[in-house]
Amino acid sequence: MRPGATARLAGAGMGLDLPLILKEAGLTALVVFALALPLFGFRTVDSAGGLDVAYRFDWVAAAVAVAFVGRALLVAMRTLGGAQRARPGEGLLARAGRAFYRHTTWIGAAAVAFAVLLPLLPFADRYVIDIASYFLIYVMLGWGLNVVVGLAGLLDLGYVAFYAVGAYSYALASLHLGLSFWWSLPLAGALAAGFGILLGFPVLRLRGDYLAIVTLGFGEIIRIILVNWYSFTNGPNGISGIARPSFFGLAFSRSPGPGEVAFHEFFGLDYAPVHRIAFLYYLILGLALVTNLFTLRIRRLPVGRAWEALREDEIACRSLGLNPTNIKLSAFAIGAMFAGFAGSFFATRQGFISPESFTFIESALILSIVVLGGMGSQIGVVIAAFAIVVLPEWFREFQQYRMLVFGAAMVMIMVWRPRGLIAHRDPTVRLHAGGEAGR
């Protein structure tokens, strides 16, 4: 808010300053009118003689009216309630967040127990388990990116590139080399980590925002190569018929090929397609939990602490003798490795991959999960992934507004709660005994 307005609001005290309200509301309405007139008021439509426009002035009127009334109410409320705004950290959400964090261990344990039992619960049909494993992919990606963005403070906008590397390395390895999922998994992780280091080297010297743009460029380069390197990646058509994983050599199919034993035959069960879906679910649950455990433990190690130190102050880090090169590269490599694992899983779950799945929007999606979750908070990522991946499934008819809401939510989170929805960012390790211990 402008300083002048603040002073006048404070001076107005408890009374309603009608001229001020009208002026503020009028100005807002004017701006909204200018914004809405070209894009709300006219809609381009195809017609016989080229492009034509249709009129929608009622939309403009509605937008202006909403803006006027909304702004007037806002100003009136602020005048009545005094000009003081709640200081950050004093709000209900923040207190809820703190309480939440005191009990993270229990909440985490309960969540894991629920996740393990989910396929056995009565309401868990094929669809629910499928969505749950889709959700867990994003949780895992969020946890992986959290290492880079949340812990090391390096804004990576090309994270999806490593996800793509993982997916394609499994798809191609199984297609050309006949490697099984379990052999490809470490390969995919190693390749993705290699790409992470490859990207890391040139960008090490860059500051936060330059780094972001270069990583974005890197992600796009990978995607453009995937689209155009037809002989290797099959271009925009993608790769289909990717081998499904087996349960220690037991295939999930009704009629296994010669020399194979099917899962249901071995255990003497009736064949059910839900077996494979449940197996995939447990697979990604395991992978995600490994990611989480790994991150939680590595935060206590010197390298993990160095990440957080680097995030807070690079110059101080340098002057304490830490080597930013190695620290950043390790963050990039480890984050990329998890994306590689998740990519392999994605390929085997879908059975089909194409460059379409690895666009910038996907990177932005994963980033917004980390940001919403509070950058650095593990459980925050789970909640944010739920909000971003699962909730839209319930509102499928609003599909086209989904990204619009994402974008707006990212802005609003940054403006109101830059530390995330319920998160607070503390160093993992504290010097004083009085502080909260690591979580």
Binding site: L39, E220, I315, A316, L404
Partner: protein, 304 residues
């Protein structure tokens, strides 16, 4: 040879468009030290407003081309400037003094939101426009290849040069330009000596958006098709141009834009058109590694 000259002309036209967008990045970066990630989207909105204005004027039966062009430019610049102002007001101003990555993340959110806002309102289809300015000179006529310089290309380059000159004067001579340069050097000190910093920053966004709108008008005329996604790539290329020229430098942005336009055109003409976007990204990475200050930029000293 003729082919080369033709590519040179095309590349310079494209470069002029990139340069105009790059100025918006460079001015904002100079004054508040952040990448306005949503600037590409502001340019896209400028292009849409221009498209709608062209169609409306054609429906009204206005056929005097210079008048149409002038009106569309004014309308698009004015309305897009309101978008630029609003973006700053909503997404960036509340974040001054927040942590380092906050404005950038907010900018990415703004960019996604604006893109989908236009998609929801105007549809995802590619929007074609009938050529408004047609015709041109035939510079060299040979049996193999004819080099043409279209009137539109002349308009684009001349308009860009005029705007460049105008804005350089504005920055160098007017009180507003002085305030901008003061804010660029030291915002707190500028505020102490009576510069309204918030207003100056707002006006910087307004100016950047107006120039992006001009680029939007030009691209609508030049390619004749736009969609809601054009801001993404153009934004990145213009940002590359700004970095290449030296971020914070106005002539640098123009030079960088020209170079990027030329590289892209020649790359598509002589190598492969599929990888032309990789060229821009590769330049960005190389410049940032080997010459982070760009061609005309000042070295930046990081303070504690």
């Amino acid at each position: 040879m003729e082919y080369f000259i033709q590519q040179l002309i095309n590349g310079m036209t494209l470069g002029a468009i990139y340069g105009l967008i790059a100025i918006g990045y460079t001015m904002v970066y100079g004054i508040i030290g952040m990448i306005n990630f949503a600037h590409g989207e502001v340019y896209m909105i400028g292009a849409f407003i221009a498209l709608i204005a062209f169609i409306l004027l054609a429906k009204l039966g206005l056929a005097t081309i210079p008048l149409v062009l002038l009106l569309v430019l004014l309308v698009s610049m004015g309305l897009t400037a309101v978008y630029g102002w609003t973006v700053e007001r909503i997404a960036y101003r509340p974040l001054r003094g927040s942590f380092r990555l906050a404005p950038l993340i907010s900018a990415i959110g703004m960019s996604i939101a604006l893109q989908n806002y236009v998609q929801v309102l105007q549809g995802a289809r590619v929007k074609p426009l009938q050529p408004v300015i047609a015709g041109g000179f035939k510079l060299i006529e040979s049996s193999a290849f004819t080099v043409t310089l279209s009137y539109l290309q002349i308009v684009i380059v001349v308009l860009t040069l005029a705007l460049m000159a105008g804005f350089s004067l504005l920055i160098a001579r007017t009180p507003l330009g002085r305030a901008q340069r003061a804010c660029e050097q030291d915002r707190v000190m500028a505020a102490l000596v009576g510069v309204d910093v918030d207003r100056t920053i707002s006006l910087t966004f307004v100016m950047g958006a107006a120039l992006a709108a001009v680029a939007g008008v030009m691209v609508t005329l030049y390619y004749g098709v736009i969609d809601f996604f054009i801001g993404f790539l153009a934004g990145i290329k213009a940002f590359t141009a700004a970095v290449l020229g030296g971020i914070g430098s106005l002539p640098g942005a123009m030079l960088g834009g020209l170079l990027i336009g030329l590289v892209e055109t020649f790359w598509s003409a002589y190598f492969t058109i599929e990888y032309k976007d990789v060229a821009a990204f590769a330049i960005l990475v190389l410049v940032l590694i080997f010459r982070p200050t760009g061609l005309l930029g000042r070295p930046e000293v990081e303070k504690v």
